[in-house]
């Protein structure tokens, strides 16, 4: 857990900032503190698994609005901390994707658990993201022809069918197929299919394509 990760603390109250940073330090987790939403958004943040501890009552923008704002860009999971704790706010925060909503004063166990979950999540998310970007990179490495071949192959068409559709010989197709497999680092066809699914490559054809179209 103590591997590279970081917690961002955004609260207008200095005392809270200090206390939280201190607490996290006692747990050996590094933290960065910001006094306002704007400060957080404009700051350079290290790229590592992170958690965002966000106060609802901020001077420039409310925490919930900030949540919405940064939703478009990638952001670490949010744990809300607030002195008010009204139900509508908490519902809205969770619906918009926050991980947790804590009211002050909070116990250290609660806050640390939340942080841990957040970091874990973020780690997982990052991993997934990394994988995805890797896959994307690999996909972009494919030649256009290989990119044509890929959807046909994962659609379940036989080689000769795919070749026929593309107007190439089966042999050529096989060569392309092998390249694809290699470039996409797929261990098997099933693996390739999973990769294609993750990349959201549409099924263009299937054996039953005509039938399903007609249906």
């Amino acid at each position: 857990m103590n591997e590279d990760c970081i917690v961002f603390v955004v609260d207008d109250d200095l005392r809270i900032r200090e206390a939280l940073v201190e607490l996290l330090a006692s747990y050996g987790i590094p933290a960065m503190a910001f006094g306002s939403g704007g400060e957080y958004m404009h700051a350079d943040k290290p790229d590592m698994p992170a958690c965002l501890l966000l106060d609802v009552e901020l001077p420039d923008i409310s925490g919930l609005d900030l949540q919405r704002r940064i939703a478009e860009h990638g952001h670490p999971p949010i744990v809300f901390i607030t002195g008010h704790g009204d139900i509508p706010s908490s519902v809205r925060a969770i619906k918009n994707g926050a991980l947790d909503f804590l009211t002050k004063p909070f116990s250290d166990a609660d806050v640390m658990n939340a942080i841990r979950s957040a970091i874990l999540q973020d780690r997982a998310d990052r991993t997934v993201r990394n994988e995805m970007s890797l896959l994307k990179r690999r996909y972009l490495d494919l030649t256009p022809r290989e990119r044509d071949v890929l959807p046909l192959v994962v659609s379940g068409l036989l080689n000769k069918q795919a070749a026929a559709q593309l107007g190439i010989s089966e042999v050529t197709l096989q060569i392309h197929r092998r390249n694809v497999m290699q470039k996409m680092a797929a261990t098997s066809l099933a693996d390739l299919v999973r990769i294609a699914q993750r990349l959201e490559i549409p099924l263009t054809d299937s054996r039953r394509a005509e039938e399903s179209d007609r249906a």
Binding site: D13, R15, I16, E18, E22, S26, G83, P105
Partner: protein, 864 residues
């Protein structure tokens, strides 16, 4: 030589000569030859020859000389002979003169006859000398034969004397003419009488010529025509006058023959018609009616002819032309002039311009027609009676409307039957009419009058006399007008008014009506009962309105009411005000008075209508409500509990959360291996700090009951106070309190919690208002801001109430002198001021109390 002449002259001549000769012989004197000389002289032609006269004169002279014996000898003889001739000649003349009388008996007879005639006969010699003049002439003229001249009886000189100078030349002319033309002359002239009066004579003279045709002499006679002349002149004058009359008479006069031929038109005829006698005479001499209007000519001619034939007087009216070309109506009458036999000699006619009269007549007729139409068309019934009251006329409308005629309305005695008047009112009306007729005074009556359908309708009759020159009544004239609708309308109006009045009286509201000046003229029963007195009882005051207000309106409200009311009366704006009004039992009740103007068609105010509603109960309830609200507001100024709790939570949670976090961190540091004492220390410090902060917040909240944060801003005290005054203005006005603010110029801005300080001020001001509630006189709160020293600012709130009874106890919590109120106000205020680092105290003044607080100019921290 005629026998007569022989007899007349020769015989006497011979006889005289013989005698003469004998005498001469005897006497031896030549005088005897006188006789034959005289005879010669008798035959001598002519007379009055000048040389004859000359000779005669010389001879006369000579004889005188000889007779006187002055001459002798031959001269004497010559002279004697001269005298002798002269005498002879003279004798001849004498004889000649006397010859007729001496020598002719016929002549004498003739002379006698002539002389006895009562005419003034005369004869004259050819040269004009009178040879004979009758005795009458002499008698008339008063001339004497002897005075006429020696040798002639009357000569021209003498004629001249007796003939009027103006006529003499005329006579000469006539004589000359006569001579020239050889005709007798005949002239008229005036001859002087012996008494000097001139009388007119007609002188006839005819020439007498001898056988040879020579002028022998004049013979003539004169006739006294004086009377005739006078008469003639008178006649002429009369004629002239008559002519003038005829011409002056404003009538055209004309005459015609008995056949109708025009013979005369007077001047006026010509003047008027522009036509002369010739114009109206046809070429054949008959009458031509050219002056008549073409359309009238035939008829007039026919009528005239009938008159001519029958001899009946002629009368016609027709249009005759005027000299200006306009036709005028003319009336012509003509009558015949008859002689003693009755035969018509002439027709005399007269035409008179009746145009004006005809036109006037026509106008009169038209006017009469119109008048008649008027009398019948007027929408009123008209009747008239004699001065005694006997009906003489009813107009058409009367007859149509009432269905009665003049006959119906007149009784057998000629007096009115009054049948058109309703029987129940008849006697009274009759009495009134009779009195009017008797006294001559105009009168008026209203009664139900009969209509043609048998019904009766209310009518108003007015009767007035028409008076003559001497103010006597000539006739009575009356007009009847149907007023039934009016009467009905009035009745309805009265009824409506009655019901409205009843309505107003019974409405459960107090109603007042006033003139445009505001003077009350009517009060409804409710209002009268409330006030306890009637409208009239205030009449001793100059103005009812003023009296009412003074007597009834609460003194505190009086001025405001008067001012507003006066404003409404002046501008016409509706009036609405709430004030206290004194009831009959002395109690003042809150009322709402509303007044609205009532305007006429032109928009001018004719009346003010006022309604007064007792809202005492409402007012009290409202007041209670307001006070409760205020209390509530004061007590829970911090709005809702939820907000309060939320703010508490927030205020407290922040430091608590930090405390918790810090505590946990501390624990961690202490249980780490190795324990991080240094960091634990730091966290504990933070814990202490934050805990204190939380405690401060709690105490603040507890003290203030409000949630907003402890914001302190540099503020301008005058703004702060101004905001407070705004907030409290309405309440102050309602309670008739004025707030006077006085801020010293150099007061600096200081850091204060604006809202808190405002709360303090509000509280103090309200207290002041409450303190002056029962005070008489002006209610003023003085708020003063001043610099007390270099580092403090003082703000004081002074009132004019009764002062603070327990100045030391008053800031204690739960201490209150008021019925309502928790007594927290001042203690809270003190806390706030203390928190600001100032002081709050109270001082009693001569009148009222002053609460004052000081604030440090430099801000201090919160630390307690």
């Amino acid at each position: 030589m005629t026998a007569e002449r022989f007899r007349q002259y020769w015989l006497p001549a011979i006889g005289a000569s013989t005698v003469g000769i004998l005498l001469c012989w005897y006497l031896n004197e030549p005088f005897g030859l006188l006789a034959p000389v005289a005879a010669i002289y008798l035959y001598a032609p002519g007379r009055s020859s000048w040389w004859f006269r000359a000779v005669w004169t010389i001879a006369l002279l000579g004889s005188v000389v000889a007779a006187a014996g002055l001459a002798s000898g031959d001269l004497g003889h010559i002279l004697k002979w001269t005298a002798f001739f002269t005498l002879a000649l003279s004798i001849g003349e004498i004889i000649e003169l006397k010859a007729p009388t001496i020598f002719g008996a016929d002549a004498l007879e003739a002379m006698r006859i002539v002389g006895s005639m009562p005419a003034y006969t005369w004869s004259a010699s050819p040269d004009g000398h009178a040879t004979y003049v009758s005795a009458g002439t002499f008698a008339y003229t008063g001339l004497q034969p002897a005075t006429g001249g020696l040798f002639h009886l009357l000569d021209n000189a003498a004629w001249r004397r007796i003939i009027h100078p103006d006529d003499y030349s005329g006579l000469m002319d006539k004589r000359r003419e006569s001579l020239a033309l050889n005709i007798p002359f005949d002239t008229e002239l005036r001859i002087r009488r012996h008494d000097g009066v001139y009388r007119w004579f007609r002188l006839f003279g005819s020439l007498s010529r001898d056988e040879k045709g020579k002028l022998a002499g004049w013979y003539g006679t004169m006739i006294d025509i004086e009377e005739r002349k006078v008469a003639e002149e008178a006649l002429q004058r009369n004629e002239r006058q008559l002519q003038q009359l005829i011409d002056a008479v404003p009538a055209s006069i004309w005459s015609t023959t008995s056949e109708g031929r025009p013979t005369y038109v007077n001047k006026r005829f010509t003047q008027m018609t522009g036509a002369t006698l010739e114009d109206i005479t046809a070429p054949d001499g008959s009458l031509r009616l050219s002056v008549l209007h073409p359309d009238d000519r035939d008829d007039a001619m026919a009528t005239f002819k009938r008159s001519l034939d029958t001899g009946e007087p002629y009368f016609k009216r027709y249009r005759q032309i005027r000299s200006d070309g306009v036709y005028h109506w003319t009336e012509t009458r003509a009558e015949p002039l008859r002689d003693h036999n009755g035969t018509v000699i002439k027709w005399y006619g007269q035409s008179v311009d009746i145009h004006a009269s005809v036109v006037a007549q026509q106008a009169l007729e038209q006017s009469e027609r119109r008048l008649q139409l008027l009398v019948d068309a007027v929408p009123a019934m008209i009747w008239s009676t004699t001065p005694e009251g006997q009906p003489v006329f009813v107009n058409k409308r009367f007859m149509d409307v009432t269905g009665t005629t003049l006959a119906d309305a007149t009784g057998p005695d000629g007096m009115p039957t009054l049948c058109t008047i309703h029987p129940d009112y008849r006697a009274d009306a009759r009495r009134m009419f009779m009195e009017a007729f008797a006294t001559g005074v105009a009168c008026m009556k209203r009664y139900p009058q009969l209509r043609s359908d048998g019904s009766h309708r209310w009518s108003e009759v007015r009767v007035e006399p028409s008076r003559g020159e001497n103010d006597e009544v000539l006739q009575w004239y009356a007009v009847c007008v149907d007023i039934d609708d009016e009467v009905q309308a009035n009745e309805a109006l009265r009824e409506s008014e009655r019901s409205l009045r009843q309505l107003v009286e019974t409405l459960p509201a107090m109603i007042d009506c006033a003139t445009p000046d505001g003077e009350p003229i009517y009060r409804s029963k409710q209002l009268r009962d409330f006030l306890g007195y009637n409208l009239e009882e205030l009449d001793k005051e100059p103005s009812r309105l003023a009296a009412t207000l003074d007597a009834g309106v609460h003194p505190a409200d009086l001025q405001g009411v008067k001012d507003r009311y006066a404003h409404s009366l002046a501008t016409g704006e509706p009036y609405a005000r709430r004030h206290r009004l004194r009831r009959f039992d002395g109690e003042y009740r809150w009322v709402e008075t509303r007044a609205g103007p009532m305007r006429d068609a032109a928009g001018a105010i004719v009346q003010w209508n006022v309604i007064c509603l007792d809202i005492d109960g409402e007012m009290r309830a409202q007041e209670e409500l307001r006070q409760a609200q205020e209390k509530l507001a004061r007590a829970s100024q911090a709005a809702s509990l939820a907000e309060l709790s939320a703010s508490i939570a927030h205020e407290v949670n922040q430091p608590l959360a930090a405390i918790v976090a810090n505590s946990h961190a501390c624990q961690r540091w202490l249980t780490a291996s190795p324990p991080n004492i240094e960091r634990a220390h730091r966290t504990v410090e933070r814990v202490i700090r934050d805990a204190n902060g939380a405690a401060d917040v709690v105490s603040r909240i507890r003290a203030l009951f409000k949630q907003s944060g402890e914001k302190r801003n540099i503020s301008d005290l005058s703004h702060v106070i101004a905001e407070v005054c705004d907030l409290i203005a309405e309440e102050a006005a309602r309670r008739h309190t004025r707030i006077a603010v006085d801020v010293e110029a150099e007061v600096p801005q200081i850091a204060i919690d604006r809202v808190q300080i405002q709360q303090v001020l509000t509280n103090l001001i309200r207290n002041g208002i409450d303190a002056m509630d029962a005070a008489a006189g002006d209610k003023i709160i003085h708020v003063r801001v001043s610099c007390q020293s270099d580092d403090t600012v003082q703000i004081s709130v002074s009132d004019l109430g009764s002062g603070v009874e327990f100045p030391d106890k008053v800031f204690q919590p739960f201490f209150s002198m008021k019925e309502q109120g928790m007594g927290m106000g001042l203690s809270i205020c003190r806390s706030i001021i203390d928190a600001h680092g100032g002081n709050l105290w109270v001082e009693n003044k001569s009148q009222g109390a002053t609460f004052a607080f000081s604030l440090p100019i430099k801000s201090r921290t919160f630390a307690r």
